[in-house]
Symmetry: D2
Subunit: 345 residues, 4 copies
């Protein structure tokens, strides 16, 4: 019997076979004496090259929530908070991990998951002008996700303007790249890794949701920008010496020229095919996501009927009679599953 079709999430996959193969090879190589350092250092160098940031500090951590918690904690002083979209992952779905570290998330309203340079600057100015601002949480950094939780992308121009505001007010800019591969693989995307390195103070290239066994690579373009980060990573329980080896393995092939540009391609192709089918069949979509997440608006009866045949993710209620459901593709999505979905629609 055939399993039920599922587009509910992009992070229930195993690792990409090429990564597993490499892991298997190098696990054996270990006994021939290759040190962990060599692999990890090689991965770091590939990342530095891909980002055109030869001086960058690169760290490997194990997952997205803890990467965000560590980086926000290390970029802020205790009296500062982080500006983020109300829809940002850190605002909603990290179980208070940021507050656990003592910091307030200063949540701004968003448009399809994005916040703007103007909105950020307005917030900072309002804070500075408030006579009581010494009694308030000082904005100390900006958190963006690329792509956003709504699948949308910041354009290079938008990112430049946000970076400009951060530099003007001397606060850090940090980008959560949990699904960055799906941005980099996307035709309409115009933000490259070197752009991120030029415009941000720190960002991470996500492996866990993008085909690596697990692991996220934090890039800090200016060497030494965050002193003693290793100890803070350890303090958060987020780092393992021997795991660098594995993360080196996992990420070593994720880089743009070789892999990262490629691993997202089938996901985007599948998503584009689904978007086309939805358009042809007259289903409205929301937020205009061009990446691997599609948000389809369904009336509730239709949604209930569909759910018999295909598992989608509930996103939110559009109005009393309509829901928005998320369709997520991944590097592992099969075109025959896309065809089955199209047939079901």
């Amino acid at each position: 019997m055939e399993e039920k079709l599922s587009f509910v999430s992009d992070y229930m996959e195993g690792a990409h076979p090429a990564i597993l193969k490499r892991l298997l090879e190098t696990n054996l190589l270990k006994t021939e004496g290759y040190g962990g350092d060599a692999f990890s250092e090689s991965a770091r160098n590939k990342i530095r090259a891909a980002c055109q940031s030869p001086e960058a500090d690169v760290y490997f951590l194990t997952g997205g929530t803890q990467t965000n918690a560590v980086m926000i904690d290390s970029l802020l002083r205790p009296y500062q908070g982080v500006i983020a979209s109300e829809s940002g992952h850190i605002s909603m779905h990290e179980a208070g991990a940021i507050e656990y570290g003592g910091h307030k998330v200063l949540a701004l309203p968003h448009t399809a998951g994005k916040i703007s340079a103007d909105g950020i600057e307005r917030y900072i100015i309002q804070y500075r002008n408030d006579v009581n601002h010494e009694h308030m949480v000082m904005p100390g950094m900006v958190y963006l996700s690329q792509p956003t939780e709504y699948g949308t992308l910041y354009s290079l121009d938008e990112l430049k303007r946000i970076s400009g505001v951060c530099r003007k007010y001397q606060i850090s800019l940090y980008v959560d790249g949990a699904r960055l591969a799906y941005a980099l693989s996307c035709r309409v995307n115009d933000v490259t890794l070197p752009d991120l390195a030029a415009l941000c103070d720190a960002f991470y290239i996500g492996g866990t949701k993008c085909g690596a066994l697990f692991g996220e690579a934090v890039v800090i373009p200016r060497h030494g920008y965050i002193p003693h980060l290793f100890t803070m990573i350890k303090q958060h329980g987020a780092h393992y010496l021997q795991r660098d080896v594995l993360q080196g393995f996992s990420l070593i092939r994720c880089l743009p020229t070789a892999f990262m540009g490629r691993i997202g391609v089938p996901a985007i192709a599948a998503a584009d095919a689904i978007r086309k089918a939805l358009r042809e069949k007259g289903y409205p979509t929301a937020y205009g996501s061009p990446t691997n997440q599609i948000f389809v608006v369904l009336d509730k009866e239709k949604a209930a009927a569909l759910s018999e045949k295909v598992e989608l993710g509930f996103w939110e209620n559009a109005d009393d009679s309509h829901v928005i459901m998320r369709i997520a593709t991944s590097w592992a999505t099969q075109m025959e599953d896309v065809e089955r979905l199209t047939a079901v629609l």
Copy 2:
């Protein structure tokens, strides 16, 4: 030369003369051997009697922000957050003290500073129904202020309904009474101390903003509801053995039958006189506050002109050409200053 008229704040006053007098007397009595405990215990018993809560635990702390921080920290488990109005003092003006303790403020929209039983229940139900709720901060208590930051009051009926929601979902209800005396002195108020004791799990009777030298009295109607609170207070640096004596002095006279019902009376009388003058002269007010804070809407030129003669507190911009300014009276406000203000208007 006459000093400039000021209605900018209600907490720039010294202590009420009756309290200072008592302090002076008992400071001398000390050398005759009266123990601190006797004063503090007497104060506790008067508070228990006034609240009709003979079993209540009563603690004296030194100020509002730390009282809120300690109480929220002791009422929540680490994975829980506190539901509060977006305008709540803990949301805005406590410099991240709640997040410093590791807790998220779950801010709800408000009407003139108040949140409703329905809004709270909707939030809890939405949390419970969210498929990802284990990834989110669990609502663990409700924070209200009486009067609110907008000077408005919860009615007994509103408080009963909020208390009902809290009990239905087994979360704690806590009331910040920084300006409670001004609520208790207010004609339209129908919430008494015994009502607060019956409906809340913890609340505090504010001294610092209400004529005491300093100090807040936390009341926990059910004995033992918060175990080891003393140690948590100490951990927050908020308690001093010898200060109980002083706080006992300060608060001993603040209680309803004797003092608290009285100390707010001149403040409300002054505020009512100012409200009447504003009405007669055609100045619109905002939020409908019946307590010692009045919010007057002024066009910007008028506000600038007034500020030459009287110091008011900037509250917020109403629109591009109007501002809302706060006029605050206190137990120490002189009627001749009210008359000078009326003349200026």
Copy 3:
């Protein structure tokens, strides 16, 4: 050219080939529709069976430091601290991760890494009798490691007595089993998994240092003893939905009957052979460790000479002219390397 011989650490290995093989198989099986839950649930059930704890709650986390941080945070109230050996991993080498969570480590003196029931009880009584104990950190749990950082083992009798003290004073007992496989494989060990389940409130079976790709399995024998632990794990950034699958894979074969009793065997055999060689050649050892860690006392010249040929771990200075060096074996140690080491000695 031959690589340099190394016995510096037991956690620089890759994963056990059997685990990698299983990972590879199941990574492919995924596309045929096996759900993650099935694997993880199977792993949980095997752990429950091995611990003879059918009702146990079992969670998979990614590494030792964060497992300790999460468990200590969830077992304590904010005003409590954790009793541990001065030599405990949480006292020394976790970069302040426990303090980061707000808790003091109440460090007791140790004998070869171990603390005793008597020492623990004395500390608790002293705390309770202190007139200022409300100003001090209340002991709220006991942390042990089995084996300890010195490679030594608690006997069943010692563990029973410690458990008895914890139950007498109603505080939790938690055991860090980062290297538990090496205890379970050790001839002199008389503490089984069912013993741990019967005597502790929580413990973890370490995978990261014992041949699993990574991952630790927390066992809470009494179902529901720690409510909402999932959310706290998430708050600490320590948990990944899809990673359960991997951890299920990793740990599924680590259990006593099948694997765990076996994976430590070569490590102990290698360690025993090294101990025999040291004894025969007249090298004194320290602490009496029977597990996979050996502590050899060397004069400083000898240590320097040896370090040319084999990498050992510096442990501490014994006196002005002698050092204690650690020799660590692992599941992956080759007998030919043991022979090379013997020859070098």
Copy 4:
């Protein structure tokens, strides 16, 4: 009937009458329009003058535990801990307030409450040389108390050497002056306020235990050394705008030339008289404290007999049959009580 004689503590007194008198006068002055700022600024300037630190930042906080918590939190980065004596107030009796802020207390062994420049340097060097130091808490500051918890004093030479070590390794030096007045009034003391300002990065002049109504004055000799300290104070709930006025009152008269050199004088005179009596009657004392605390060694029967007639503070057991009891004098100690104590002895 006469009350029982008590030398149990030096912080159960009220405020010095001169302070209360001034408070009463200025409470009335308020209504004639003196602003709070003028009083506080005057107090700040007197403190700057007394410390010969015209550029110093001066803040008023409400109590010792929170002053320590705020200052340690603001002087450290998250990955750093504070070096202190094992007997230090922050190590023992602040209910985990430092750990609550996320920092480990790195406790060193002491001699009669004091730690030494050598011991501190040894600790720092050992940390730096440890191959695992990135996994350990980095020493980020030194905490001393003057006088110590054992009533002993750092000499100017000792303080200079400790300051030298701190500057050599670029970590901050902070001195807890909860009982500083009793050091400054002590004949053998050779550390002045200008010395403290020259050698420390921050220190506080205690009011609460030294006759002020309450309040501690933090002095940061180099202006701007701790940015945004006001907001951190607020975040810890430790500061009140209107309270500055009071604290200004309290401390305005505590300064060396005027008051501080004087307020401790009767305490030291009383303590010296008691020390003389003890010596004459053959009671041994411990630790050699020259300040207002005396530690007398008593056999247990004698201690029990004495406790019928005078309340002393239990300090610790000297051996199985002897205890060490603390006798504390204060600014308010009466010579007739000293005579009654002498008679009882």
